[in-house]
């Protein structure tokens, strides 16, 4: 494989890892976002947490591996993004820590105040992480100020413009919808019925922010649509994503929640793919000066490393997918609380 082909392959694989993360941890985060609003009793809150209890940890590994692979395949981009978005990453870490430990700690004590505290930590962590992911994507779309060596030169507040915040809100509503659908599949009775209105609300909010984002992107970020001229087939992704968005209310009307969940997964995968298409071949777009952009070609590791990592991925990923499938199968069906539950 040529060096260029290796770089493109790793760009695609990073996209696959990011899609895996957004699909899987997306519903975990969504369950966290809905946590203060949908479940009403203590039992329902426990069901809410335990719906993702066995799964969130494995799902978060997709993010860890995405980060590790970015470090290995595109170290220049890893260094540029992580140091440039220092404060955002620190907030993200704190959010992910809160999310993780709140589940572990919440039900270990009977006290109502204790449980309320961790309920809010669970929500706060999930909400903040989702918002930050969206803000990060928004900033990547519009580009950031970089110096010659690919270091971010702006301040923290430059990263909180209206467009990144819009994408942030869209991400929160998308994950809330995805999590709501997941929770619908894992619950029954009155709790499940209550979820229906929240699925509609989150779908509505997502529709509005999705359209606003699309308009803003087409209107203000010419770079984002340039690649459609290079790759005309990419229109299929746009059509597929829109169809998947439209299919969700259709499935909800027909009472096919499983298909609705798959469709919201399709929306997530479609949006990550569109993000990748808008970015290519950049990893970090330099606002103003395209030559300073960190691209998949100038940020990549040596061909040797990319090749070794490809072997590692080819050997490891089939195992990961197989046993992940087995584990998801083991925990299929409605949530049942037991001795080891949160």
């Amino acid at each position: 494989m040529s060096y260029e082909a290796l770089c493109v392959t790793w760009f695609v694989l990073e996209g696959v890892l990011l899609t895996g993360y957004a699909l899987l941890d997306g519903f975990d985060l969504g369950v966290g976002i809905l946590h203060p609003f949908v479940p009403r009793t203590d039992l329902e809150r426990r069901i809410s947490m335990n719906s993702i209890g066995p799964l969130w940890d494995g799902n978060e590994v997709w993010l860890v591996t995405f980060g590790g692979a970015l470090f290995a395949a595109f170290p220049e981009a890893y260094a540029s993004v992580f140091s440039g978005f220092y404060t955002a990453f620190m907030l993200l870490l704190i959010a992910l820590i809160s999310r993780a430990v709140s589940m572990e700690f919440r039900s270990k004590m009977e006290s109502a105040a204790w449980r309320r505290f961790w309920d809010w930590a669970f929500f706060g962590g999930s909400f903040t992480a989702s918002l930050l992911f969206g803000v990060a994507v928004g900033n990547a779309m519009i580009g950031v100020a970089l110096d010659d060596a690919g270091n971010f030169t702006g301040g923290v507040l430059n990263q909180l413009g209206p467009y990144p915040l819009l994408v942030g809100v869209m991400t929160v509503s998308l994950f809330a919808m995805h999590g709501g659908l997941f929770l619908y599949l894992k619950t029954d009775g009155e709790f499940q019925q209550r979820l229906r209105e929240w699925m509609w609300r989150s779908w509505g909010l997502f529709m509005v922010t999705f359209m606003l984002t699309t308009i803003a992107t087409v209107a203000f970020i010419p770079r984002a649509t340039e690649n459609f001229r290079r790759f005309p087939w990419a229109v299929v992704v746009v059509v597929g994503t829109v169809l998947a968005v439209a299919n969700i209310p259709r499935c909800l009307y027909r009472d096919r929640p499983g298909l609705a969940f798959l469709s919201s997964g399709g929306v997530i995968a479609g949006l990550v793919a569109l993000f990748g298409l808008a970015l290519y071949p950049n990893l970090v777009t330099a606002a103003g000066d395209p030559l300073r952009s960190v691209t998949i070609f100038n940020a990549a590791s040596s061909p040797k490393t990319l090749g070794i990592m490809l072997i590692i991925a080819a050997v490891g990923m089939p195992f990961v997918l197989t046993y992940s499938g087995v584990i998801y199968w083991t925990f299929r069906g409605k949530v049942k609380l037991g001795e080891h539950s949160y």
């Binding site: 590790g68 470090f71 140091s83 993780a100 990592m309 539950s341």
Partner: protein
């Protein structure tokens, strides 16, 4: 304060807190595998009771380990961007391998280990436990490979970074980075195997002392006696073997450090002047006078350990320019306390094993009382080992090679009598931080992490204490029974239950 110092402190705080948990996961993982294998072999329900109890403790530790571990991966990029650019090609692939081979494995199967008791049969459950344990061991492999490469780099070459086809310059000097030449030489760099064995034994000691601590407390309180005895027996066996093995591992480690990072070993031992070397047991190194104050040691002891000859010459700190020396005080004290604790483990476990053999261990209450807080000692010595390893590597974040003379008795030095490192081959910590991150940003995150980790640590201890006081969920006659009778009763109960549940066959 400057960014590098703050970033160093933040790294030390976050890795120091995180590293309480991985050794517990590795050590307890081995214990869980052993218990579940015992259950599959004998179908004695006490094994299952024990495995279920330790699983709850394991899950709590694991969750905090995961939560604090992700900080480590991100921090290379956030605080040490220049370092990340230099090592990404080399270090990153080990990290990616860790994700794919280790993290997915342990985090995935953890679901079945913790939540799958009633969803899968005991064989599948055992398999899941084995995979979690293997996953935690694999993850130690890759992270130690990456860290060992920083200590004793191999299998790479250093080349200029190209940006759009042209060498990237910083202040007119080409920016460099390390690239892989030989993957296996990199994985098996000169210190990987020694350090990995050292880390594993350290983890086994933590796991074993953790089990013994809780078991000793139950024995003293007269609760869950049968469970506690078996747990203590298992823990003691593992701890005794590990403590003795650590002696061998530690010695070989020190040998290897001397060969590849002689400045580090000289700092460990407070050995300032090249020549005959004292093996100090205590002391306070004093940079001003180049001596170890209040030192108590064996003259020539270091030469004896390194060369088998008390009068042999050992290279000291005077072979290195002052700016190329690690901080001697921290290196010396962390190393010495670690070694001292290592010897105390040998004494403690051998004495307890002797009493166990004599049959009086479980009546020797003062010793059991000693074992309750003793779990802190291996945790402390694991932490100090890393402090010694990382501080001793300074001022380098990636340590360049040293060259020995043909007979191996001295280092090749420059005209001033000092080792001349190839600056291109290494990277100084001072040059490794992110260029665009400000001190106030790092101070903010450091305070944030500090507060969160304090709270997490407190809640962890609190819940752990609660779980321990609650104890294993025992039912039937085996709960408070003693000796053989209870075992028989437990066995009978198992048979009885098996008949009652009929077709199940997998459980009871």
């Amino acid at each position: 304060m400057d960014v590098v110092l703050l970033s160093r402190i933040q790294f030390a705080v976050s890795i120091g807190f995180h590293y309480i948990f991985p050794p517990l996961a590795i050590g307890l993982g081995v214990v869980l595998v052993w218990l579940e294998a015992g259950y599959l072999r004998t179908r004695d329900p006490i094994y299952e009771t024990a495995a279920r109890f330790w699983t709850k403790v394991f899950a709590l530790n694991f969750a905090i380990g995961v939560a604090t571990g992700i900080v480590m991966e991100f921090q290379f990029g956030t605080n040490w961007a220049t370092y990340s650019r230099f090592v990404g090609d080399v270090f990153g692939s080990a990290l990616a391998a860790e994700g794919i081979f280790a993290f997915f494995l342990e985090s995935g199967f953890l679901a079945i280990l913790v939540f799958g008791w009633d969803r899968v049969g005991p064989k599948m459950h055992f398999f899941a436990t084995l995979m979690v344990s293997l996953g935690s061991i694999f993850s130690s492999v890759w992270i130690v490979v990456a860290n060992s490469w920083q200590q004793t780099p191999a299998g790479h070459h250093v080349v200029p970074v190209l940006r759009n086809g042209v060498p990237l310059l910083k202040d007119g000097v080409p920016v460099l980075r390390a690239e892989i030449v030989d993957f296996w030489a990199l994985v098996f760099n000169p210190s990987t195997v020694h350090r990995l064995v050292h880390v594993w034994i350290g983890a086994f000691l933590v796991g074993a002392f953790f089990v013994m601590s809780i078991a000793a407390w139950y024995l003293l309180k007269g609760r869950h006696r049968e469970f506690a005895r078996r747990s203590f027996d298992g823990g003691l066996a593992l701890a005794t073997v590990s403590a003795l093995a650590m002696l061998v591992s530690g010695h070989r480690q020190a040998d290897n450090v001397y060969r590849h990072q002689p400045a580090k070993l000289a700092a460990f031992e407070g050995h300032y002047r090249t020549g005959k070397a004292t093996l100090n047991m205590f002391g306070v190194p004093d940079d001003a006078t180049q001596t170890v104050k209040y030192g108590v040691g064996v003259p020539g002891g270091l030469g004896l350990l390194l060369h088998g000859d008390a009068s042999a010459q050992v290279v000291g700190l005077d072979r290195f320019r002052p700016e190329d020396r690690p901080p001697v005080g921290i290196s010396f004290q962390s190393y010495h306390v670690m070694v001292g604790l290592g010897f105390s483990f040998i004494g403690l476990t051998l004495f307890a094993s002797f009493l166990r053999w004599r049959g009086t261990l479980y009546d020797t209450r003062w010793l059991l009382w000693l074992f309750v807080p003793a779990v802190l000692l291996p945790i402390v010595s694991n932490e100090l080992g890393w402090v010694a390893a990382e501080v001793g590597r300074q001022p380098w974040i990636v340590h360049p090679k040293v060259t020995w003379t043909a007979d191996g008795s001295d280092l090749v030095v420059g005209p001033a009598g000092h080792v001349v490192y190839d600056e291109r081959e290494g990277l100084r910590t001072l040059d490794a931080a992110s260029p665009n991150v400000t001190a106030s940003q790092v101070l903010g995150s450091l305070i944030g992490f500090g507060l969160i980790y304090l709270a997490l640590g407190a809640v962890w201890v609190f819940i752990l204490d609660k779980k321990i006081k609650h104890g294993p969920d025992e039912e039937g006659p085996s709960a408070e029974g003693t000796g053989e009778g209870a075992l028989e009763a437990a066995g009978l109960r198992a048979v009885h239950e098996g008949r009652l549940t009929g077709g199940d066959g997998t459980r009871g």
